[in-house]
């Protein structure tokens, strides 16, 4: 919160840099339904907070240009790339990661779809793909193949050629429609 306030007030870049490096803002946020409070380095990225501080290593880092989507999570219900946000910026938010998408011991229809349709191979892009697809289906519960493909534009998979990822999402859409 403090960080955002400083930015919006046009705080000079040098001071902001100093702040990001040396001041340890205290943040409180909810992750997968559990509230956490930590002092974090100003420059700490949200993805590193999730992985290193909270040990939620299902969220991955695949690039350094916000291009690959392996770090996709939900922040206040929307899919975001957690590498493009500071942990401090997530103060006060509610986050869902792949570990919290379904209750323990159960599978979300998308998780089931990825398994049933062989939508993954090495598994590295998978959590980000699933989190992105969950956001897509929440906005568009019955997407066409083209809409699915366009919806996945921000996520790269190097193993599957996307063929079975598209089918996995179609599977989940169908299954969710039946459930409703």
């Amino acid at each position: 919160m403090l960080c955002n306030t400083l930015k919006t007030n046009g705080f000079c870049a040098k001071a902001l840099n100093f702040y990001l490096t040396y001041i340890m803002p205290k943040i409180t946020l909810t992750v997968n339904g559990k509230t956490h409070t930590h002092e974090v380095e100003g420059r700490l990225l949200l993805v590193h907070y999730l992985r290193d501080t909270l040990g939620l290593t299902g969220t991955h880092v695949g690039c350094d240009t916000s291009s690959c989507g392996t770090c996709t999570i939900h922040l206040d219900g929307k899919a975001i790339k957690s590498c493009s946000l500071l942990a401090a910026q997530a103060d006060g938010s509610s986050i869902t990661t792949i570990e919290g998408l379904a209750p323990e011991g159960e599978l979300h229809p998308l998780q089931e779809g990825f398994k049933e349709e062989h939508g993954l191979q090495c598994g590295f892009c998978t959590p980000g793909m699933i989190m992105c697809a969950a956001d897509l289906l929440s906005r568009n519960p019955d997407p066409t193949e083209q809409e699915i493909r366009e919806g996945l534009e921000g996520n790269i998979c190097r193993c599957t050629g996307y063929h079975n990822i598209v089918r996995a999402i179609q599977y989940a859409a169908q299954k969710s429609a039946v459930a409703v």
């Binding site: 598994g123 998978t126 493909r149 190097r158 599957t160």
Partner: protein
């Protein structure tokens, strides 16, 4: 034997952990007291290091140690394959030090390593290291690096030539055949450099235990035992039994994680030096600069035909770029994995390849999905399609005319090529005929003729490929210069309760071994799949292994497991015979039961397992226990083949090319899990199409990679690709017990030339008779090809 699982699309066992975020990749591992390494790399492609001053960095808070070439520069990583010059001289093999102390040779060459309490502090300190460089001119193009006066990568390697090499028929015979040709199709092209881009960046953790004097290396690798062997025997001189190498879940490799990288040895050394674990994980930018690249050939090729359209000769001159240093298998890729495939599916009577392998100021080049075979396929399939256009004949007809006739390798002998290999079994006409049927070829040509009048023109491209995989017979590769054997190890441990632990030296990085191998074991023993556990990736639990690459895991690793299963069944029969009071020859094993032939007297597999471990009523002279390990060394490569057909649509206004359809009919021998095999083909197709349309590492004149990030290097995304249309033919491999050939690389080997041929076909249909559009065929390049010269 039972038949419950083999041939079925069993859902993957490993998926559960990956879809719930519980996969465990190397960077996910945190060890007590762990430190973090950052490697300072050269920003120049070629420069002399005048001085390194790290005093300020060393004094910074949180810095544990700093290492430079002064300390570890005498250690270097080796090349695993010796290739000789045409005149018999041994290839030039300059050292590849862990850290450079004198001269950097590519952008990203490692100069210093900082180890600190956190990743950020290590990076902060690295930024405080002052290096004085004397920048020198660089060369990045292999065909230019051999010219007189080109900057030298290694001062003692004249003309930057690592070696020259040839294969095939004597050059004079090929020249004679070409001189007699009625038509010669010639083509100059570049098979551009690619970045493998496995989604998981490389990551290593070194850990040293001073109580046991034992090292552990966690590494995102395709072959943990090979890394241990190379690092212990050829780099650091450590006793192998004191080093454990663990490959946890690996997020893709595509070849790039076969090699022994300098950073693996660096974290190992550093962990002993400071007595704490050291983790290093590369950034994506570093990956572009340091993960071995693929391809990068500059080629002039000619194919000669007689008046009837029969191929009479093939003559090729290629410069292959090896990069600045020799990667583990860098020398084998343009030679034995490329030149040996130039027979393709054709009866070409005379073939000659003249290859020059060259050092440049670039990242090392090594095997990337397909490794040499895509380059061979590209060359052949481009030439055949172009020849058809030039001669005004149908490209499918031209292929069918020149294909090798079908042979099963059992009742008929294998096919001896002019480039050393003997194909095991093949039926080539039928895959193309099936592809044409799926395409609806006649209709397509009508549609194409209509489209040629519009702004959206259509083209079809064919590619009929063969590859050599299931790598490889050790004696054969040894005679060709390999410095390792290429067998595999499979151990099957039957537990007293009949549950099975299988230890394999193959190491999945996405291929689904835990499922496929379990299907084989469960069916062979007639037990449920949940009674079988596949264990891989740890040199302390798995006896030995050569790893996963060259589409070898099932053909070689699976065969090793089958050998052990055979031994278990044989021993089980002896135990059963003793208990059932008959001869072992009278026992048959079927559906999980040892039965006295022709009777209903039987014992279950579980009974025999328990008896083996509680040997109260037991044959004399038979050891207790039921646990066998086998080494399987294949007798030949396996030879999958297939037909790939691309249909493209080009927007004449913009040059934008869309792959409308992609048809693949592959023959990879017997199939254990069709779902997994299809998935392997899909992924390969995407990478092959990626090379044709999107991908390519670009260097500027100073040797900087100008597209070294995911923002700049274009890989196929979901909306760049169509749904793939797949079919399969099965010609079993005659020389391994499962009859499997391997499916990991086929998609990537066949698909690239199909797309390029389709673009060229579309351009010809609209009257633009160009021979080539350089890959990646960007809209700009395609558009330019349509403009008046």
């Amino acid at each position: 034997m039972s038949n419950k699982f083999i041939g079925k699309s069993v859902k993957r066992i490993e998926d559960k952990r990956f879809i719930t975020g519980k996969g465990r990749y190397t960077d996910d591992i945190v060890l007590p007291g762990m430190t973090y390494a950052y490697i300072l790399r050269s920003p120049y492609a070629h420069a002399r290091i005048r001085s390194i001053d790290y005093s300020a960095a060393e004094a910074m808070q949180g810095v544990v140690t700093i290492m430079t070439g002064e300390e570890v520069g005498h250690y270097g990583v080796p090349c695993g394959w010796q290739v000789n010059f045409k005149n018999g001289d041994i290839m030039k093999e300059p050292p590849h030090p862990l850290l450079v102390k004198d001269k950097v040779r590519h952008v990203g060459d490692a100069v210093a390593m900082v180890v600190a309490e956190t990743r950020e502090l290590a990076q902060d300190a690295a930024e405080a290291i002052i290096i004085d460089y004397e920048v020198l001119p660089a060369v990045t193009d292999a065909s230019k690096a051999v010219l007189p006066g080109a900057p030298l990568v290694h001062d003692d390697v004249p003309n930057n030539i690592c070696f020259d090499w040839e294969i095939g028929n004597p050059k004079a015979e090929v020249d004679e055949a070409m001189a007699s040709a009625h038509h010669i199709t010639s083509l100059d092209f570049v098979n551009q450099r690619l970045s493998p881009n496995a989604m998981e960046p490389r990551s290593y953790i070194g850990q040293y235990d001073n109580v046991y004097d034992k090292y552990t290396l966690y590494t995102s690798t395709q072959n943990p035992h090979l890394i241990r062997l190379l690092m212990c025997a050829f780099v650091l001189g450590l006793p192998e039994h004191k080093v454990r190498v663990v490959g946890p879940d690996v997020g893709g490799g595509f070849g790039s994680k076969i090699y022994h990288y300098t950073e693996e040895a660096l974290v190992t050394l550093a962990s002993k030096k400071i007595g704490r674990p050291v983790k290093w994980t590369e950034t994506r930018s570093e990956a572009f600069q340091t993960d071995a690249h693929g391809r990068d050939h500059v080629t002039h090729a000619e194919m000669g035909f007689d008046a009837q359209g029969n191929i009479v000769g093939l003559r090729i001159k290629t410069f292959a770029n090896l990069g600045a240093y020799l990667s583990t298998f860098g020398t084998a890729v343009p030679t034995y994995l490329h030149g040996t495939l130039l027979q393709g599916l054709y009866t070409t009577p005379k073939i000659h390849l003249d290859m020059t392998c060259v050092f440049t100021h670039t990242t090392a080049v090594d095997a990337y999905r397909g490794a040499g075979r895509p380059e061979a396929t590209f060359l052949l399939e481009r030439l055949v399609d172009l020849a058809a256009l030039e001669m005004g004949v149908d490209p499918a007809e031209l292929r069918l005319k020149n294909f090798i006739p079908a042979f099963d390798g059992v009742t008929q002998p294998g096919y001896q090529t002019n480039v050393a290999l003997q194909y095991d079994s093949g039926n080539y006409h039928s895959v193309l005929e099936r592809g044409l049927e799926m395409l609806g070829y006649e209709n397509f040509r009508k549609e194409q003729a209509e489209a040629a009048k519009t702004n959206k023109i259509l083209g079809v491209g064919f590619s009929t490929y063969i590859e050599a995989c299931g790598i490889a017979p050790s004696a054969v590769v040894g005679s060709l210069g390999a410095r390792a054997g290429l067998y595999e190890v499979g151990q099957v441990r039957v537990q007293p309760t009949g549950k099975i632990s299988v230890f394999t030296g193959a190491h999945s990085h996405g291929q689904g071994h835990e499922t496929t191998f379990a299907q084989v074991v469960a069916d062979r023993l007639g037990i449920p799949m949940e009674d079988v556990d596949i264990i891989h990736g740890d040199s302390d639990t798995v006896a030995f292994g050569m790893g996963t690459y060259g589409s070898r895991s099932l053909a070689v690793g699976g065969s090793a497991i089958v050998k052990s299963l055979d031994k278990i069944i044989e021993k089980g029969a002896k135990i059963a015979a003793h208990k059932l009071e008959c001869s072992a020859d009278d026992i048959e094993f079927k559906d999980g039961k040892f039965t006295v032939k022709g009777t209903d007297k039987s014992l279950s597999f579980g009974d025999i397992a328990l008896t083996a471990y509680v040997p109260h009523v037991y044959p004399a002279n038979l050891e207790p226990g039921l646990d066998f390990s086998s080494f399987y060394d294949p007798t030949n490569f396996t030879y999958p083949f297939g037909c790939h057909i691309a249909v493209v649509e080009i927007d004449k206004e913009t040059g934008f090319t869309r792959v409308k359809r992609f048809i693949a009919v592959d023959d990879v021998g017997n199939v254990i899990n069709p779902m997994i095999v299809d998935g392997q083909i899909h992924g390969g197709l995407a990478q092959g199409i990626g090379q044709a349309l999107f991908e390519g590492v670009e260097f500027d004149e100073n040797g900087q990679i100008t597209n070294g990030s995911y923002m700049d290097y274009t890989m196929p995304r979901a909306d760049d690709l169509p749904m793939f249309e797949l079919d399969r033919q099965v010609t079993p491999c005659p020389h391994n017990p499962l009859g499997v050939k391997g499916a990991g690389e086929a998609g990537c080997i066949g698909s690239t030339p199909a797309v390029v041929n389709a673009v060229i076909d579309a351009l010809w249909s609209a009257g633009h008779k160009v021979k080539d559009v350089r890959m990646p065929m960007t809209p700009e390049r395609v558009w330019k090809a349509m403009q008046p010269a």
